[in-house]
């Protein structure tokens, strides 16, 4: 496994180059009249220098640090990936499904993904949480959460 600072500094270097290009494209102006790209361009230049320094330092680091970083990345990734995908899907389906249905599905999944309990318990706890949240945010605070499917069925 590569040293984590090598990976992260490479990411910053690429981002810094993008910032330099974007800043330049937005126009730098002059020192007496700086334009919109001025700060972005110089931020890119400074970031390039700093991430270059992190990259060089990572290349020089000894094995001890590498060993520690191996341990740090040894933990389980599965939960993190599943939950992130679930959250992205939730955002995608929020408008079409509506808050009540979409949130119930998300909560049901979240309660199952980490130390799962029995199905009936998961179902009623998810439903209860959705209803309480809906009452607080939509009914009490007037947040106008998306109606989605339920809105169509009522028409």
């Amino acid at each position: 496994m590569k040293h984590p600072d090598l990976i992260s500094s490479l990411f910053w270097i690429v981002l810094a180059l993008c910032l330099i290009i974007w800043g330049y494209a937005l126009e730098l102006g002059t020192l007496s009249e700086p334009e919109s790209g001025f700060i972005i361009f110089w931020a890119g230049i400074i970031m390039l220098g700093l991430s270059g320094a992190v990259f060089i330092m990572a290349l020089r680091e000894k094995d001890k640090r590498l060993e520690r970083s191996r341990q740090r990345f040894g933990a389980s990734w599965r939960n993190v990936i599943w939950v992130t995908i679930a959250l992205a899907l939730y955002a995608y389906l929020l408008s079409p499904l509506g808050f009540l249905v979409d949130t119930f599905l998300l909560l049901f999944f979240l309660f199952r993904v980490y130390e799962p309990r029995k199905w009936p318990t998961t179902i009623w706890v998810s439903a209860l949480m959705v209803i309480v949240t809906y009452l607080v945010f939509d009914v009490w605070l007037g947040s106008q959460l998306p109606k989605g499917l339920l809105d169509l069925s009522w028409r």
Binding site: T30, S32, S36, A43, R117, T133, S143, Q144
Partner: protein
């Protein structure tokens, strides 16, 4: 005389029944958040921001401030009883607080933490009242170069005090500045870095970024491991510390309070650094340093008073200069702006009711906390037993609904999830979120003041060095940034870094 008049104004606002209720809700939720590991004051304040939309700005800010200093109180409970800090500023309280609990002295440890917090919190409010008015008056003389240099100094302090690599803190700071430029250019209204998305015309939202980095990111990190918590099983009795305990702790309380207050004023200082420095100081000055780490009550009193005093001190730069010093205060600044109020030197003159109302509410809040904390410890212990499998879906749900309620934008949910992943990866790669947030908030102000200064000076950078205040700020910033290159200072900073990572 003026001070008494202002205090009267403040109390007339803070003592209104609705504001008392908001203050109570704030300190109660703050304590609860402080007790619960896995959600900090930043996340809690972001989640509760939508609840304040229907209230007056005074009530909203009284509640949000209450969450902040309330969380400092609550954090000590988990440190003492479970050996897990509820929030970062209570990390060192674990060292002696948990040992005291194991020796059957959980009561005096909890009591001292509560009384220490109360004394320090009250002193910090007094300091705030005395320091804020002259500082706000002084800040009226600031022009664009002074503001620019002050912000550079603020970011330099934050980067200097970063827990890990200063280079990495600088990189995340730069990223924060760039994020702050997204949207319309404040000077010529040209769109920047929007990539054709209409949603980005007003810039990236502060709340989705903060909730993502500190709420979702934290949950993702915790999901990798099973959070195991075991409370101390002995019965907690005798919460009042004995006369001997008071004698042993009195200087730790005083030193922690003064130190915490001044460190709180510094950008990036805050409760975490204050509690670590206080612990190190007490251990150094103690006649029995060998007792530290084995249940010394001064090891609880010092850090707990320091982190509470720091919470009070942190309000000074926000209320007088309009500059946030840490992520929590940055969010509070966001709340000010959402309610149409610009914090800064003119706040005291334009909205005296709000300014003094928030300050005096802290007095009342501190008394509420003292009353709340001692008798309710039994409830907090029950709260500690809520398993993470129940807690994390609630946190995620509140993040999602909270963000949507603020802007009614699904795009902001994506932004929050994106920053959640960024926050998770930043922790994995040992980058800190605080410099990013502070730079994100200060970035637009920094850019406008830089460009205005350059326009004023016809393109000459000498304007920053020819104006005495600006020159002093920049010189201090330079000293901070190059000081780690001096071997003696660099080594000391490394020791602090290692200490603060031992959580």
């Amino acid at each position: 005389m003026d001070l008494f008049h202002y205090l009267g104004t403040g109390f007339s606002v803070a003592l209104q029944p609705i504001n008392l209720l908001y203050c109570f809700v704030g300190v109660f939720i703050g304590t609860l958040i402080g007790v619960l590991p896995g959600i900090g004051p930043v996340g809690a304040m972001s989640l509760l921001l939508p609840l304040t939309f229907k209230s007056t700005p005074e009530s909203a800010l009284i509640m949000l401030a209450g969450i902040y200093y309330g969380s400092m109180y609550g954090g000590s409970t988990t440190s003492i009883l479970v050996n897990i800090p509820g929030e970062a500023a209570s990390v060192v309280t674990c060292l002696d607080g948990y040992q005291m609990a194991l020796q059957g002295r959980a009561g005096p440890a909890l009591g001292m933490a509560a009384f220490g917090s109360f004394i320090a919190g009250t002193f910090a409010i007094l300091g705030l009242m005395l320091v804020a008015p002259p500082l706000a008056e002084f800040a009226l003389r600031f022009g664009p170069p002074e503001y620019f240099s002050l912000m550079v100094l603020g970011m330099s302090i934050l980067i200097y005090l970063a827990h890990g690599s200063m280079l990495k803190a600088l990189i995340t700071g730069i990223l924060g500045i760039v994020l702050g430029t997204v949207g319309l250019d404040p000077i010529n209204a040209k769109t920047r870095l929007t990539f054709g998305r209409m949603e980005l015309m007003d810039g990236v939202g502060l709340v989705p970024v903060i909730m993502g980095l500190f709420g979702i990111g934290e949950v993702l990190l915790n999901l990798e491991q099973i959070l195991f918590r075991e409370t101390v099983k002995t019965k907690i009795r005798g919460l009042l510390p004995s006369a001997e305990d008071w004698l042993e702790s009195k200087w730790a309380l005083i030193r922690g309070t003064v130190l915490g207050f001044f460190l709180g004023i510094l950008p990036g200082g805050g409760g975490v650094i204050a509690s670590f420095v206080s612990y190190a100081l007490e251990k150094k000055l103690s006649r029995h340093p060998e007792r530290f780490g084995k249940g010394a009550i001064a090891g609880v009193a010092g850090p707990e008073s320091a982190n509470n005093a720091a919470a009070g001190g942190a309000f000074i730069p926000l209320l007088t200069l309009g500059i946030p010093t840490n992520a929590v205060i940055a969010l509070l600044m966001g709340a000010f702006l959402i309610h149409g109020i610009t914090p800064g030197p003119l706040l005291m003159k334009q909205s005296p009711g709000l300014f003094w109302g928030v300050i005096t509410s802290m007095y009342i809040g501190n008394i509420m906390l003292l009353i709340l904390n001692l008798p309710l410890i039994g409830i907090w212990i029950q709260v500690l037993k809520i398993p993470y499998r129940i807690l994390f879906p609630i946190i995620l749900l509140l993040c999602l609904v909270g963000v949507y309620s603020i802007s009614h934008s699904i795009f902001d949910i994506y932004v929050m999830i994106g920053f959640g992943v960024v926050g998770y990866l930043m922790k994995k790669f040992e980058y800190e979120g605080a410099p990013l947030i502070l730079a994100f908030i200060l970035g637009p102000m920094l850019e406008v003041n830089l460009r205005r200064s350059l326009i004023m000076s016809h393109g000459s950078f000498s304007i920053f060095f020819l104006r005495p205040l600006s020159a002093i700020f920049l010189l201090l910033a330079l000293i901070l940034l190059i000081s780690p290159l001096i071997p003696a200072i660099g080594k000391k900073r490394e020791v602090v870094t290692i200490l603060s990572k031992q959580d």
